[in-house]
């Protein structure tokens, strides 16, 4: 033991005498690792590309189109796809391509904002409950359980009755429901992490509760949360479409994909393109986000990957 001690001490002294290194190696964070793994997943990368293309199409498209989404031209009502109107026109003679783009904007916006709201509330709430534990945790999770039991549609109708219809209310209503499952996932993750020694080390260094939650716990539960968020966006878009079917969603002349699909299916036999185009983009978005979510799950947690 003493011989190896000498060798080690020698190495340590040499290290101690060495000059300040000129160059520092760059480390690879777990996020970068995950990104590299995701890049090797063909389906996920294609999905990412297609989804980005859809987002660009919806966001930039209306600026490039000569038509206005609300401009009616009753003489050209319900025409099939043509060189002039690539996606055709609806019964009021509005250009369906611009309507699809604008509808996509609203659907995507609802999906993203409601998910972000859910994410922000769910992560903070779940992490706090899981970290503090005990009575605080029990009370906080009791509230979540109660909200869970509340029927969603009735909740939305109540909101609409109380505050009138608006797009913001839809964000709030959907976000308010979706954060519940986020909170549960984050809480479970934090309870698992809390026992890990690096959290005890952080406590030992006298770091504040807030700092431990924000810097040591949340970044380490974010992996599964990101996956869930990716899968929540399409779920939220479906919810919005469902609300639109009930007539509780976006109000005309605004339209989401859900509204367009609803209108389209009413004339499905005579004017099939009115259903086809919005439904195609909606379905494509749902598929790509689901594939992306699956890819992210494998990339962020390589142990769970199937291969």
């Amino acid at each position: 033991m003493s011989r190896s001690a000498d060798i080690v001490a020698g190495a340590e002294q040499r290290l101690a005498a060495a000059p300040v290194p000129e160059e520092f190696e760059k480390g690879t964070s777990l996020w970068e690792d995950a990104w590299h793994r995701l890049q090797r997943n063909r389906l996920a990368m294609i999905s990412l590309f297609v989804f980005s293309a859809i987002v660009l199409f919806c966001v930039i498209g209306p600026f490039l189109s000569p038509y206005d989404a609300e401009a009616q031209d009753l003489l050209k009502g319900a025409q099939g796809p043509s060189a002039e109107h690539w996606f055709g026109t609806d019964t009021l003679g509005r250009d369906l391509m611009v309507r699809t783009m604008e509808g996509g904007r609203i659907s995507l916006l609802v999906g993203l904002i409601a998910t972000l709201v859910a994410l922000a509330i769910g992560v903070v709430y779940g992490a706090t409950a899981g970290y503090l534990g005990g009575k605080v945790d029990a009370t906080m999770m009791r509230i979540v359980d109660t909200l869970y039991a509340l029927p969603f549609t009735i909740f939305v109708i109540l909101l609409m009755v109380a505050f009138g219809r608006s797009l913001w209310l839809i964000f709030v209503a959907i976000g308010a429901v979706e954060w519940l499952s986020m909170a549960r996932i984050v809480r479970a993750g934090v309870i698992g992490l809390k026992k890990q020694e690096f959290v005890e080390a952080a406590v030992s260094l006298g770091y504040s509760h807030t700092r431990i939650i924000v810097r040591h716990l949340i970044p380490n539960v974010l992996g599964p949360v990101i996956v869930i968020a990716t899968l929540t966006v399409p779920a939220v878009m479906l919810l919005e479409a469902f609300l639109s079917f009930l007539g509780l969603g976006v109000q005309p002349p605004n339209a989401s994909w859900g509204v367009l699909i609803n209108e389209g299916q009413q004339n499905m036999e005579i004017f099939p393109w009115l259903l086809m185009f919005p439904a195609f983009f909606f379905a494509l978005t749902l598929f790509t986000l689901n594939f992306l979510g699956d890819g992210l799950r494998d990339a962020l947690d390589p142990k769970s990957a199937k291969d």
Partner: protein, 329 residues
Amino acid sequence: MSDSDTALREDFLVLENVEQHFDLGRALLTRESKGVVKAVDGISLTIREGEILGIVGESGCGKTTLSRTIMQLIRPTSGRIFLEGKELSALSDADIRAERINFQMIFQDPYASLNPRLTVFTTISEAIRTRHPDVRGEALRGRVIELLRTVGLNPAQMNRYPHEFSGGQRQRVAIARALAPEPKLVIADEPVSALDVSIQSQILNLLKRLSREMGLTMIFVSHDLSVVRYIADRIAVMYRGRIIELGRAETIVDDPRHIYTKALMSAIPQPDPRAERTRERILLEDEPPGADKSPGKDVEDDLEEVTPGHLVSTRPFERRVKEAEAPAQ
């Protein structure tokens, strides 16, 4: 030791009858109590400044619980803990936080003890700033580099993440983090048991050297008496939440009095082949099952001083010798 002008405190860390009992709660249906685990069951100890106290005992005897209790990661069920005369066990959570930089812990599992999302530089620099909040920029970087060198790591690798290091290197990072706040007391809980044997002696030597050079007071916990006797000045043998023998390391090794210590000693292979052949082997019966089989709270302090500084438990020991192998001829 006492001849130096900087007098070392005799009562640097004092434990007074410390207990840590875990209530297992009640059964769901019958509401019957599931009992109490007495993980630490009345430990009194005084640790001198600058000494290394080894704590040995088999798995589950409460070593980690004792460490976490001293660290105030869990507050003791009863008893008092003083560091340099200040009663830690009486401080509020907020006051404890301010005291924490004075006592640090090195954890058992270097794969779990580092935040995987932070670079080594971030981990160490944040730990340094717990004591020196105003140090930043180049000065902070300089301190991190110095500290990494002290523990035998290459500072050029400080922007790496934990998963890019080996177990031994990670444990060095964990040691650097524990030293960063310039603590007076370091508790090392089985710091080498998760490492390859070839790495173990390197880390042990590092800890031994650091504690000497920095004048640290250290509690070194292990289930392995051969590891503890190498590093410790004094050894406390723990059994079922209590200390059953305490004394200078040589005394415990050469002249163990308690049958349990003897059994632990007899399990260590001797490096010298002749000594190995004549080694006495004592095998004890298995531990009786159940969370609470310890024979009640009879005497508070049951340790008896057999020779100066050598204490042995006087309470009846429930495990019989199963096999005492006479030294092979």
